[in-house]
Subunit: 180 residues, 2 copies
């Protein structure tokens, strides 16, 4: 029960364990795939190692099947719940960043032919459009939950950002830099 540094992944696991009570890594994987995974994804192997770290810190408990697959079932502890609440309450220090690979490419596209820039812009535009549609469908499916459920509410930002991205890349596609 030593103390370990908590990463966003840690809180993600704590957050899900808090909302469902207890889960195996595989169940976590499924939860992530249908939830945060849409805007914060990572390989499933993390969901096998991260709970171990959390167990070391006493934030979750582990219970292992004695038969068959010997699945591990993790549950959040009171300490874990406190850590989660504290994290949500504590003001955000670090700024979020765009970290869009397409944007990085555009940034360094000074030497590229215009046709390549246009192609990049179209690809990005379409990808963001797809994602926008997906978010909108999820929001529609969630209905009025978007007003009361914080998790669902995040869709609103996703949609807004995707729309802005579609508009941006559309403009770049139709009016690329170096256009003269």
């Amino acid at each position: 029960m030593s103390t370990v540094p908590l990463t966003p992944t840690s809180y993600l696991v704590l957050g899900y364990l808090d909302s469902v009570g207890a889960a195996t890594p595989y169940e976590l994987k499924q939860l992530v795939a249908g939830g945060v995974g849409h805007f914060w994804s990572f390989p499933h192997s993390q969901l096998y190692s991260e709970p171990n770290r959390l167990a070391q810190a006493g934030l979750v408990t582990e219970q292992r099947e004695q038969t068959g697959r010997r699945r591990r079932l993790f549950a959040i502890t009171d300490t874990g719940r406190v850590a989660l609440r504290d994290w949500v309450a504590e003001p955000n220090v670090d700024q979020q960043e765009i970290r869009d690979l397409g944007l990085l490419k555009l940034f360094f596209a000074a030497g590229a032919p215009t046709a390549h820039i246009e192609a990049l812009a179209r690809t990005q535009r379409d990808a963001h459009q797809q994602r926008c549609d997906a978010y909108e469908a999820m929001a529609a499916a969630a209905g009025t939950l978007i007003e009361t459920d914080p998790a669902v509410r995040t869709l609103e930002l996703g949609i807004a950002i995707e729309r802005a991205s579609v508009e941006f890349w559309s403009r770049v596609a139709s009016d690329p830099p170096r256009g003269a």
Copy 2:
């Protein structure tokens, strides 16, 4: 001169070396701070190790001062230039993600008191507003370059996303989930 996997950081270094010809790690650090660093930041130590990797792959050359600080000066090679062009030209496979810590907190805020959510939203709103102002100032300073320089053009997306974020967090602040 073995082959190494190229990461976004690799191309970032190649991109800058391509635009300035040659630079020391410290010069790269300054370039990044005034450029991509605004939307793709990382510790400066990367700028000391990454060029080494690129040199192994023959994408850059290294020249070391024989006196005083023994600074290292890196220059991009033709091979490096080709790699950079290819990267820009190749279509983007992976989707970009939001990866906003504030958004992650909101996602898991179901158990938090409304006051905490409001505080989170206000903090986020203000941070994004600040960043929005900064981007707009940079765009204004760049003037019409925004139409012709791809690197400057990226500011447009930054501004659009920041504005959308400000609006989103303002709404959450004034009308938080669980508000009933």
